[in-house]
Amino acid sequence: MAIGWYLAVSAIIFCIGAIGVLTRPNPLVILLCLELMLNAANLALVAFARMWGGESGQIFALIVMVVAACEVTVGLGLIVAIYRRNLAIDVDELNELHG
């Protein structure tokens, strides 16, 4: 398939992820939608790697995956900590930064 199709798919998934971040109040679901966006970026990277023929795109995609894993770890740790304090798991409730 022409590379444009892959990029179109990537764009659509990215935007769906963005919409999800904006509309869902549950932080877990927000993180999931962030994953969607990251994956869309991965797809675009690999597509370009295939187009140009080098490996750098795939390496980049693997590193992105590493970063996504770390970010998920820390984010979920945060959510667990919030849950432990008996706060609502809702980004609208958690709107004041305390030191």
Binding site: N26, M51, A88
Partner: protein, 237 residues
């Protein structure tokens, strides 16, 4: 050729459906499962692009490990299905609008004549393009530094996760006395946001009562502070 086209469309539709399901489903557990499907469809797309190692890593690492972690946390934390609060009312409409706008822009960008970097046909396939051997060689030669940094990042994330999720009073050997040794006098307005947004309440050096209040659960203030915080910061101007 045709077979790969059919496979492409199946995978693509799977991915998109999975994505939509993540966003639309109310129960977070179902969202997680939908994401797993999406990831697998994406792995199929990677395979179509001849990036075998990336596809395998996607399934093993992403769908396998990360999503399992998600499942655990969702099971622990729960999070019921809740409607959007009144705060998000505007975004319920505007969010999709901006998203669609972005999608349209990107499509115009790619499919229009603006991007000349996209040729219809890709580069000729070099054998060993996406094999683990190639990837491994690259990681250990050209991209050694990012490799090492990535491993450092993983270690930092692990330490951070442990720190975040431990119980405050759960560590053995920690007593009340040890905890209170962290009390240090701070000059005015160099401390917490708590101090600076409520100037009349905070300010001065951190005193006994101040520190005590900081150790309370943070959330109990949020409800009361929501509206009064603004009022006090205006007055203390």
């Amino acid at each position: 050729m045709v077979f790969s086209a059919i496979l492409f469309f199946i995978a693509a539709i799977g991915a998109i459906v999975g994505a939509v399901a993540v966003v639309m489903l109310r129960n977070p557990f179902y969202s997680v499962l939908a994401l797993v499907c999406h990831l697998i469809a994406l792995a199929a797309l990677f395979l179509l692009l001849r990036a075998e190692f990336v596809a395998a890593a996607q399934v093993v690492v992403y769908a396998g490990a990360v999503m399992v972690l998600y499942v655990f946390v969702v099971a622990y934390v729960g999070g019921a299905d809740e409607p959007l609060h009144r705060h998000g009312a505007a975004l319920k409409v505007l969010g999709p609008v901006f998203g669609v706008a972005l999608a349209v822009e990107l499509c115009i960008a790619m499919l229009g004549t603006a991007l000349k970097g996209i040729s219809g046909h890709g580069a000729p396939y070099v054998p060993g393009f996406g094999t683990p051997k190639e990837i491994g060689t690259q990681f250990l030669t050209t991209y050694l530094f990012p490799f090492e940094v990535a491993s450092l990042l993983l270690m930092v994330a692990a330490v951070g996760a442990v720190l975040l999720a431990r119980r405050r009073r759960g560590l053995e050997g920690t007593t009340e006395g040890e905890q209170t040794t962290f009390r240090v006098a701070r000059p005015v307005l160099t401390g917490t946001m708590h101090e600076s947004t409520g100037i009349r309440g905070g300010g001065g050096t951190v005193s006994e009562s101040e520190y005590e209040s900081q150790r309370e659960p943070v959330g109990s203030h949020t409800g009361a502070r929501g509206s009064s915080g603004d009022g006090r910061s205006e007055g203390g101007w």
